[in-house]
Symmetry: C2
Subunit: 341 residues, 2 copies
DNA sequence: CTGAAAGCGCTTACAG
DNA sequence: CTGAAAGCGCTTACAG
């Protein structure tokens, strides 16, 4: 007895065994009852629940993860937290996953494939129950880490036809083409494209811009201003000035994101350039504040909340063992026409 | 033998035992060597490391957490991700914690004490190695959950003199008074205060505003416009119009946060109200875009990055068993005077 | 400095 | 439907 006591570590925590003793059943029955495994007598379930409640029992996630080889955390990888787009996405994901008993674990890649790889290396050993990643652009190693881990994975924000792939997104190309077409419809002919960051989705929007202008016979590569710098309001202001200086005959600008578009609009205010009189300005994503600009910014409302919600819901299904075939959901975006075009 | 095999679960993972076999030492020696516990022969450490490397061994965090009663995750609770302030804070925290072997686990409370409580209830059983929380305003239950968990905790963004408390922040009251004083120094006499959210830190800034104006004999409660709504550019625009309408003789506005200040500035642009000619506008936090407004916004640069860095560093020390006495670090803010005042 | 034993708190795999 | 045994992969607590 003394021996036994001396060996004991005892964390002080109320355990499954405590509940079992209180409910007068075996530990495994408590385990099953609490996990809602049917095949437990309803009466026993009730007894177990009451005992657990009374003792304030909370399962130990570490023990659970070790025994079952799976935690209840879901790794969510996004490029940036400073882009409101991804904050909206994360909020939606949380609203679906958390009440379902899963905890989102946010990882920020900073648009850096090496960082993404490091995050995967760090978190995959934690045996997350699921994985939510942004887009398809990653290192081959990262791809393999994901595949070999066997963790269910849903890709967000882009779509793909590749077999076995799960994704929820929308066509960045079509959306980019749509806003460009809107500018054409407004009678604009010298339409510039200003972009920052140059991540895959930005480049897809560029592709939409090009296709649309080529179809109209109005594509001119000199009207593209692509900066690898991080997107920001300040950068938008600089790009606006640069375009006007280099291409004085430009009559519209499609900014790849609302933050640089807002910067462009503010630069126009500062320089006294009439918008849309002298030049039309359009953005992308419909971020906070775009409706308050002077003039209010025309943009594309992207369904990031819906992407997060549908993506998390799809993952939920996968984690529960369903839909192994691969499936891609394509959502709709919407043109938001305001006074800047 | 058959018996033994039938019982085996075998996750396929390379384990400590595998490394021990390869290095021809006992598992416990591998454990100690890999955790850099000194008291292991350097030669053995080398052998173990080589074997671990060769086998691609990665420790299982769940097993580790179960055995040691402590994970390597650090729970970080912030009110909102849509306020750039907290994104900067989180980035700084990550930069300190991650390389030190800890993984930040972000929880968003939405300024809701009940949500914070739920997050603590959910994550504390995971036995985080440390806890980083925003401010001191929380439910008594939340406070007890934290204390009873025994998890080291550092409070961010505010300061306190309470004994045993660890915190890193700055004086919101002083900062609020400083920007108000700046407006007085500019010759303004009818200075309004516009606020949203009304969280504790916002109210502390209000307190600074009041103290400063009372000292000057210029305090007038009718010049305070406090909205419980979430802070946003659109709300700022509305507050701006409302103040001008209700108090036509106002000659300056101190907005409690840059986003509503930006909204106020945009409203001034739209309405053709000269800033600072007719009215001066000041913000708080120096968020992205404030320097691009027309005119550029005068504001207070708050040291959130430094708060995150110093807070995480302090927590690191606590997690390693140091500094149990309680300690508060007070950081500096800086007035950023631009053309709006 | 090194190791054999026990334990952390669950779930899986077998049996009945 | 229920349970006794074993195991998940580590670290703690003792010994030497």
């Amino acid at each position: 007895m003394t021996e036994a006591h001396r060996r004991r570590r005892n964390s002080g925590r109320t355990t499954l065994a405590d509940v079992a003793r209180a409910a007068e059943v075996s530990p495994i029955t408590v385990s099953r009852a609490l996990r809602q495994e049917r095949s437990v007598d309803p009466a026993l379930v009730e007894r177990v629940r009451a005992a657990a409640e009374r003792l304030g029992y909370v399962p130990d996630p570490a023990a659970r993860a070790l025994a079952s080889q799976r935690s209840t955390q879901v790794l969510v990888l996004v490029p940036l937290l400073s882009n409101a787009l991804f904050v909206d996405l994360l909020e939606a994901v949380h609203r679906v996953l958390f009440p379902a008993g899963y905890q989102p674990l946010i990882g920020v890649t900073h648009y850096d494939t090496a960082e993404e790889e490091l995050l995967l290396r760090t978190y995959l050993p934690h045996r997350p129950a699921g994985l939510l990643v942004t887009g398809f652009d990653r290192s081959e190693t990262a791809r393999q880490l994901i595949t070999r881990s066997g963790v269910p994975c849903v890709h967000l924000m882009e779509t793909s036809d590749a077999p076995g792939v799960h994704c929820v997104g929308f066509s960045q190309i079509d959306a980019g083409a749509a806003i460009t077409q809107h500018l054409l419809d407004r009678g604009r002919r010298r339409i510039a494209f200003c972009a920052a960051q140059l991540d895959p989705r930005t480049l897809q929007r560029a592709e939409g811009y090009r296709r649309c202008l080529r179809a109209a016979g109005l594509y001119d590569p000199r009207l593209e201003l692509l900066s690898p710098e991080r997107s920001s309001i300040a950068l938008g202001a600089r790009l606006f000035e640069e375009v006007l200086q280099r291409q004085p005959e430009v009559d519209a600008i499609f900014f790849c994101n609302d933050d640089i578009a807002q910067g462009g609009l503010l630069a126009a205010n500062r320089l006294g350039v009439p918008v849309p009189g002298r030049i039309a300005v359009a953005g992308f994503n419909d971020l906070a504040g775009s409706d308050q600009m002077v003039p209010p910014l025309t943009t594309v409302r992207t369904p990031r909340g819906e992407v997060g919600q549908a993506g998390a819901t799809m993952l939920l299904e996968l984690m529960r063992g369903g839909g192994a075939e691969g499936r891609c959901v394509r959502l709709d975006y919407a043109l938001v026409v305001r006074e800047s075009t």
